[in-house]
């Protein structure tokens, strides 16, 4: 019998303290233990980025990180993104119609938030490279890129 590990992390500003199997993936922890199903499991092989969340403000694929590795970290998922209402990136995805079926959207938005924190004034090419870890199987990339550029503009205007 493998002993469980006790982990504690702040998820969307709420402390989560649980005992889990060591092999529990962060995405399983978020969805099944914390009940936060906004984060999706897409490919489950670190390719598609649908499971992207922020770990200490940096984008990470939560299907390729153990929950135990995130012990003590601060996690932000799509549910915890806006302070009051939507985050500027969510607004931009809405107004630019940066989604089709919507399955990749949570991961795209989280990857974009991290990308814009590191690159506040990106070119279109920067955005395309910055989102290379996220796949949209509807191939709706064009509006996603437009949305991220628009979000960058609106975040600059208010900063």
């Amino acid at each position: 019998m493998i002993p469980a590990v006790q982990i504690s992390m702040v998820v969307n500003e709420t402390t989560q303290f649980h005992e889990v199997e060591p092999r529990t993936l962060l995405v399983q922890f978020l969805r099944d233990v914390c009940g936060l199903t906004g984060t999706k499991v897409g490919c489950d092989t670190s390719s598609c980025g649908a499971c992207t969340v922020l770990v200490d403000s940096e984008s990470v694929k939560s299907c390729t990180m153990l929950a135990a590795q995130a012990d003590g970290a601060s996690i932000t998922t799509i549910e915890g993104l806006g302070d009051a209402g939507w985050h500027p990136v969510q607004n931009a995805f809405h107004t630019e119609h940066g989604l089709q079926c919507g399955f990749c959207t949570a991961g795209m938005v989280m990857a974009a938030v991290s990308f814009l924190a590191e690159n506040p004034d990106p070119t279109e090419r920067d955005v395309r490279l910055g989102l290379e870890g996220n796949l949209c199987r509807c191939t709706g990339y064009h509006n996603i890129v437009k949305a991220v550029l628009k979000a960058a503009e609106s975040m600059k205007a208010t900063s």
Partner: protein, 274 residues
């Protein structure tokens, strides 16, 4: 996909990590960022019974000027390398190739030491370190030793590290901020290289290394020799597949990989010469 069950041990020092490795033997694996190991474990291609998590040894996150070389902590993440001014100025080739590993999410978690110790011939950074004649520092129960990069990569996912040793530092020469070109051929931006070719100038001589052209990263010795004898880039590149033994898989046949090596080495050499 869920990894097979394992015991999880968190190491709070290098000594704790190597002690745990000594205690649990060959069934234990070190976990750094997990970007290479966890996907293998999820596919059950790797089934360690104990994971020793060294991800919190933040003392091993650094790029330092050590006089005649740069010293890089094994747990330094790709993102850190990508944004290091010291690395950009003194070893630009390593910074540039670190920026081409995987995608942003992978670079936020993945570490240089993890990439090196994993020993995957399809990884980008081992080929850079091989071209630079980097030195690796390993710590084990019997103390510290250094291993030259030419002796380090032994086979597919196999390195000169003993099962109870931990890679702690990577030492690279100061080669300046220019004089390199990396050509990475893949189907999707974030994928592993189907083939990669690096050309980099060290002390006036051009060195060439190859990604995914055998069971280990390789130096294209025949190309380097031809260049040293004065061959033009396009002529030297014709030797790129010599002494290579690439695999055939779903992305490419061995023959196609050899073709790619010649094309990519030529492109890299022409960019370096330009």
């Amino acid at each position: 996909m869920i990894p097979a069950a394992f015991d999880y041990v968190r190491a709070d020092s290098i000594d704790a990590a190597t002690t745990a490795l000594a205690e649990y033997g060959e069934d234990a694996k070190l976990l750094a960022g997990g970007m290479s190991l966890l996907p293998l474990m999820k596919l059950r291609l790797a089934v360690p019974s104990v994971l020793v998590d060294v991800g919190r040894l933040t003392d091993l996150t650094y790029v330092k000027d050590a006089g005649d070389h740069l010293a890089i902590g094994a747990l330094t993440r790709h993102r850190y390398l990508e944004t290091s001014t010291l690395l950009a100025e003194q070893c630009g080739v390593l910074r540039a190739v670190a920026a081409e590993v995987g995608d942003n999410q992978v670079r936020h978690r993945g570490t240089l030491g993890g990439s090196v110790a994993h020993g995957d011939p399809a990884s980008d950074l081992p080929a850079v370190l091989l071209a630079l004649d980097a030195t690796f520092v390993a710590r084990g129960p019997n103390g510290e030793r250094t291993i030259e990069s030419r002796d380090f990569f032994i086979g597919f996912l196999e390195t000169a590290l003993n099962p109870d040793e931990m890679l702690t530092e990577i030492r690279v020469p100061k080669v300046g901020h220019t004089g390199y070109a990396y050509e990475k051929f893949n189907r999707r931006a974030q994928d592993w290289a189907i083939v990669g070719a690096l050309a980099t100038v060290v002390d006036g001589a051009t060195r060439v290394s190859l990604v995914n052209m055998g069971t280990t990263p390789l130096r294209a010795a025949a190309v380097e020799k031809a260049l040293a004898e004065g061959a033009a880039p396009s002529a030297a590149a014709e030797f790129a597949a010599e002494s290579t033994d690439p695999s055939s898989d779903m992305t490419a046949t061995a023959e196609y990989r050899k073709h790619l090596a010649r094309v990519l080495v030529r492109r890299a050499l022409e960019r370096v010469a330009a």
